[in-house]
């Protein structure tokens, strides 16, 4: 039995400890927002956060998740209110949408580690996330406007 926290709820699974976390989340726990794109850590579609760090769940064995805090796209906000999600809507970023869970999870982690990333920093951080539809220019623009909103929130909060 492997136990961990998924989107702030405790879960336990009786499954092959070698099973990648991706399949445990999708097939066994029924959360399909995390996508399968390559299975070999090449595309980023399966990105989730483990204790706040972005990981590729397609190559992370379930055993490594034991006692960790896992956050998926379904867990970053209750109502799409995360600044990144809002910026994604504002820029009408998605085309097919399939890569976007992974893009959003990477972008959230980026802004958590770097409040106002440069173009180069965005390129470097996001290069592991493929979008075959070609939404990169909008992803970049959305990250920048979300970064702006992060700052704004901070200023409004009074600690600027």
């Amino acid at each position: 039995m492997i136990s961990f926290t998924l989107n702030d709820k405790p879960v336990s699974l009786d499954a092959d400890p070698q099973m990648p976390l991706l399949w445990a989340i999708r097939d066994m726990l029924g959360l399909t927002g995390t996508k399968f794109g390559c299975g070999i850590a090449q595309c980023g579609a399966c990105t989730v956060h483990m204790d706040g760090q972005p990981i590729r769940s397609c190559v992370m064995p379930l055993s490594a998740a034991a006692d960790k805090k896992i956050t998926t796209i379904e867990g970053i906000s209750e109502d799409n209110s995360h600044p990144i999600q809002k910026a994604w809507v504002e820029h009408n970023v998605p085309q097919c949408g399939y890569c976007q869970s992974g893009q959003i999870m990477s972008a959230v982690a980026l802004l958590e580690s770097n409040k106002s990333p440069s173009d180069k920093a965005i390129d470097d951080y996001m290069q592991g996330n493929i979008c075959r539809c070609g939404t990169y220019p909008r992803i970049k623009a959305a990250i920048k406007s979300a970064a702006g909103n992060f700052d704004l929130a901070k200023n409004v909060g009074g600690d600027a």
Partner: protein
């Protein structure tokens, strides 16, 4: 989780309209017969006005989208058009995905034709429903229909404050006789509130919350998961496999030898062995134990490198003439200067972000499938054929498609799911891996082309020879086909629009050995690359600026009709009277990109612009690309594109398609290559079939020509000019002319 809701919303539980009247002009309208009353979650509240429009008593407007959403925005675009003429409140519109149903007309979502072919029809659907609501209100108030008008989900009485909501009117409206097409009135474009507006995609909130349902995401109670090891060679069959080893893997439920079908490949599943398990991972693990031995058959000798060498050598000889004017060979002999060049491109694969997937249930002689398919009707037909049941007994639900680009027009994976559902008696989801996607695709054809132009002493083109050779898509459907077909030669080859004096256009034989399919813009990909590069080569030889060279070749404003020179041009299935090849529109988009980008201005050393323009899917796109080439490394700095697609329904989605097309085109030009050895594809995943990533993506600008011409295609026309614009820019930056794609074979790409 998300699936149950989505299934309830799906039209499967209901069916707008059941016959009751087909009136003139192909407009199908009618009311529900009691026996087929739709099973809505709240069925009594929903009322059909026609095949595409149903209104709930609370005023919610349900609109069917019968085309597949793969990122192009059609689930927003089609309802925008209907809601416009219906005068619906966009905030009250709910989009319902249509099942496979021939009542809708073609649902085959490819060929950049969803808006092109449905724009007028969807306006009619909206206008017809609006007319019925207006008639109901007029009846209620005892006035003439001309005294009422619809606005924002209400019908209002002229010169009065009286109004009735669509929801209040719908029951009565359903009793009105559907109007005929000729009596319908349409809004004037100046009054449009939705058409031409950048409406946000209807699915965006679900996408950013991760709650959409793609083909890979379908979940049914008691569902099993399947992964299939397929023959690496087309036409190959299973000789033996280790059933026991696979079956002994924890979680594996069944191992099944898929029925092998002889060539032609069609949309049949390839021969192979399926491992069915309680989860995807177990199926993948079981599959690793199969140790399948294959009979490879005739195509096991196919080697793409040798094959392309062969095409490249024969393309320099005269081929079968498909369009001709004067004696190009005679005129070439008299030329003061000659330019000639041979271009090649490798096989390509679609690699949509979501690998194919389908889920099926088979019960009591009926099959129900959920699939990310571009072509629900063909999926239905192929499933029915494979299961030997009537197609009325096959229900096809279309999920969202995580990209498609033509791959998901081929329903082989849907048939796989249906066969396995019948075999197990349980719901089965067939999950394709990325390796499956790359190795078992329907590939863009490998190609060679050769061009020769003769210039007179004034440096003007007086003779023109162009040749193309590539295995045909038709080989996939009939193995006797061994040369490009008219439909493919109509894609950027036989429709060459230049004024060049004597000309000879020729094709060469090229038999098929792997499944050939259509990928975003199809043969325009290689034809656009060669033609766009060759114009630039002539400009260099003639000492002219590329922009001036293009304008000179496009010559005076005119409609080009290839039929006058013996080529039966397909014109994307559209009439040439409505959609002529218009050189004025070609020149216009080119002038726009050159002016906006500054492509005719000088650049820093090692940097340069390249341009190209191409008409496809009856739309016109020009591209200007700026690159730098330093120490054998190319960087794409900037791209500008202009599109003239006639009337545009959603400019933001057109812009998005242009951005996506630039990036798709860059992947092809810079990186794309599938190679085949001993009949099998050598690449397997994104590490060896690379696609563009964010750091390689330049700044992209898009210009949309304002036009009230009938709508043209949008999803594909952006792709064809890209590769030529890049190769031309590289030449001007470095002096290196790249004629064999991908560019990564010649330069490092960053």
């Amino acid at each position: 989780m998300s699936s149950s809701n989505q299934h309830l919303e799906n039209v499967s539980r209901r069916r707008f309209l059941k016959t009751a009247g087909i009136v003139s002009g192909g407009l199908i309208l009618g009311t529900t017969l009691p026996s087929v009353a739709p099973l809505w979650a709240d069925e009594s509240s929903s009322n059909e006005l026609n095949l595409f429009v149903s209104i709930r008593v609370d005023g919610q407007v349900d609109i069917i989208c019968h085309r597949s959403e793969m990122g192009q925005g059609i689930r927003t675009g089609i309802p925008q058009v209907i809601a416009e003429e219906l005068c619906a409140d966009w905030d009250r519109v709910n989009v319902v995905q249509g099942l496979a149903d021939e009542a809708y007309g073609s649902q085959n979502t490819d060929g950049s034709r969803s808006i092109r072919r449905n724009y007028q029809r969807m306006r009619e659907m909206g206008a017809a429903a609006r007319t019925m609501l207006e008639q109901a209100a007029a009846k209620e108030w005892g006035v003439k229909p001309s005294q009422v008008y619809a606005e924002n989900n209400f019908v209002k009485l002229r010169g009065s404050t009286r109004q009735l909501g669509f929801g209040e009117l719908v029951k009565s409206a359903m009793t009105m006789t559907p109007p005929t097409t000729e009596t319908l009135t349409f809004k004037s474009p100046k009054d449009f509130k939705l058409i031409g507006k950048p409406i946000t995609s209807v699915d965006i909130h679900k996408v950013v919350g991760g709650t959409t349902e793609f083909g890979q995401d379908v979940r049914l109670p008691d569902m099993l998961y399947a992964s299939i090891e397929r023959t690496p060679v087309v036409g190959g069959t299973v000789e033996s496999f280790d059933e026991k080893a696979a079956a002994s893997v924890n979680g594996v439920v069944k191992v099944f030898n898929m029925p092998a079908r002889p060539l032609p490949a069609l949309f049949n599943p390839k021969a192979g062995v399926a491992v069915i398990a309680s989860n995807t991972w177990a199926a993948l693990q079981g599959r690793k134990q199969l140790n399948v031995k294959w009979n490879t058959g005739n195509n096991g000798a196919h080697n793409s490198e040798a094959y392309l060498d062969d095409l490249t050598s024969k393309i320099t000889t005269k081929g079968k003439v498909i369009r001709k004017s004067g004696d190009a060979y005679l005129m070439a002999g008299r030329a003061a200067e000659k330019v000639s060049a041979t271009y090649t491109m490798p096989y390509l694969v679609h690699a949509p972000m979501e690998p194919p997937a389908a889920t099926a249930v088979f019960k009591d002689g009926k099959c129900e499938v959920w699939a990310c398919t571009q072509t629900p009707q063909s999926a239905q037909q192929n499933v029915a054929g494979a299961l030997e049941i009537d197609k009325e007994n096959v229900t096809v639900h279309v999920t969202l498609l995580g990209g498609a680009f033509g791959r998901k027009s081929k329903p082989d994976y849907v048939v796989e799911a249906a066969l396995l559902a019948r075999e197990t008696g349980k719901p089965v989801k067939v999950v394709w891996s990325r390796e499956d996607d790359i190795q078992h695709g329907y590939y863009h054809a490998v190609s060679a082309q050769h061009f020769e132009a003769g210039l007179n002493s004034d440096n003007r083109v007086q003779s023109w020879i162009q040749r193309t050779a590539f295995p045909s898509i038709s080989w996939t459907f009939d193995t006797r086909v061994d040369e490009p077909q008219g439909g493919e030669l109509s894609l950027g080859f036989g429709d060459m629009p230049f004024d060049v004096g004597a000309l000879s256009m020729e094709s060469h034989k090229a038999p098929g050995h792997i499944r050939i399919g259509w990928i975003r813009s199809v043969s325009n990909i290689h034809h656009g690359f060669a033609l766009g590069s060759f114009v630039d080569e002539i400009a260099v030889k003639a000492g002219k600026k590329p922009h001036a060279m293009w304008l000179e070749l496009l010559a005076n404003d005119r409609f080009v009709d290839p039929a006058t020179e013996g080529f039966e041009y397909g014109n994307y299935g559209d009439p040439k009277e409505v959609f002529p090849i218009d050189t004025k529109r070609l020149k216009n988009v080119l002038n726009i990109v050159v002016e906006k980008s500054g492509a005719d201005k000088s650049t820093a050393p090692n940097e340069a612009w390249g341009i190209s323009v191409h008409r496809s899917f009856v739309s016109y796109v020009a591209v200007a690309t700026k690159v730098s080439v330093v120490d054998g490394k190319v960087s794409i700095l900037e791209m500008h594109s202009a599109i003239d697609a006639g009337t545009v329904v959603n400019p933001d989605r057109v812009r998005a398609q242009q951005e996506g097309s630039m990036i798709f085109g860059l992947s092809i030009a810079l990186l794309g290559e599938i190679s085949v050895k001993d009949g099998a594809v050598e690449q397997s995943n994104f590490h060896d079939y690379q696609v563009l990533r964010m750091p390689q993506t330049p700044k992209i600008e898009t210009y949309i020509v304002e036009s009230d011409a009938p709508p043209g295609g949008v999803g594909e026309p952006g792709v064809p000019p890209v590769a030529a614009s890049v190769a031309n820019a590289i030449y001007h930056a470095s002096g290196q002319r790249i004629r064999d794609l991908p560019i990564s074979k010649h330069l490092r790409v960053s």
